[in-house]
């Protein structure tokens, strides 16, 4: 399945785009997704180690499973306020 991953802040600047598109297998875990992004976009790998992933606007755990229609985002450590 094809998924899009929204990028923000340093992740967006490092990869020079607001969204990544990946072809992944069904039943992919968030942990596996992070490894896959790191492998395909090595410049992001350091930041990904410190980042969360959100699925449908909620923080996901490493064990969460990514579904095709999910709204997915990489969430670097936040610094609002």
């Amino acid at each position: 399945m094809k998924i899009q991953i929204k990028l923000f802040a340093a992740a967006r600047e490092i990869s020079e785009r607001g969204e990544l598109e990946l072809e992944v297998a069904e039943g992919l875990s968030v942990k596996a997704l992070k490894l896959k992004i790191s492998a395909e976009h090595p410049k992001l790998s350091e930041l990904i180690l410190r980042s969360a992933v959100s699925l449908n606007r909620e923080f996901a755990t490493d064990e969460s499973v990514v579904h095709e229609k999910d709204e997915i985002a990489l969430i670097p450590p936040v610094s609002g306020g």
Binding site: A9, R12, R57
Partner: protein, 153 residues
């Protein structure tokens, strides 16, 4: 009132949004761009957010605050884009019957927002460097805590 805006925040509007005859106390918090951090000088800040998730997360925080304290009204406004020196990036207002709860709830909302809400700050230093602020820490701990504490109340 929960809002993310690229316009300057009007603190009076936020304060008035929590007005209530049942409130004996209101606390307004304003976070603004500070010129110096130690010896490092800031020219301006720039904020970016994942807006739909940020709004949802702020709403969760407001709901959780209402579970924890007896709140009359509560507003959170965050600015995005460039925020110059002395300008406000965040304004939080809480009104309650008694003052202790207003202080506690407003401080808690700001603390939690800084941990849980997908908004990011970029420093523009006076030496010409820029830097996204990505503090270390495990973010995933937090939403679980919120869910747990809400479930328990």
């Amino acid at each position: 009132m929960i809002s993310i805006t690229s316009d300057a925040i009007d603190p009076l509007e936020v304060l008035e949004s929590v007005k209530s005859n049942q409130a004996g106390a209101s606390v307004l918090f304003v976070g603004s761009t500070r010129q110096f951090t130690g010896e490092k000088e800031t020219l301006q800040l720039e904020y970016e957010c994942y807006e739909s998730m940020a709004i949802a997360k702020i709403q969760q925080l407001v709901d959780a605050a209402r579970d924890k304290w007896n709140i009359e009204q509560c507003s959170v406004v965050h600015r995005i884009g460039v925020v110059g020196l002395g300008e406000s990036s965040i304004v939080v207002a809480v009104s309650t019957g008694h003052r202790k709860e207003s202080f506690e709830a407003a401080a808690w909302l700001v603390d939690e927002l800084k941990i849980q809400v997908p908004i990011w700050k970029k420093e523009f230093w006076a030496d010409g460097k820029t830097e996204w602020v990505h503090p270390s820490g495990d973010q995933r701990r937090i939403p679980e805590n919120i869910n747990a504490s809400r479930g328990a109340s």
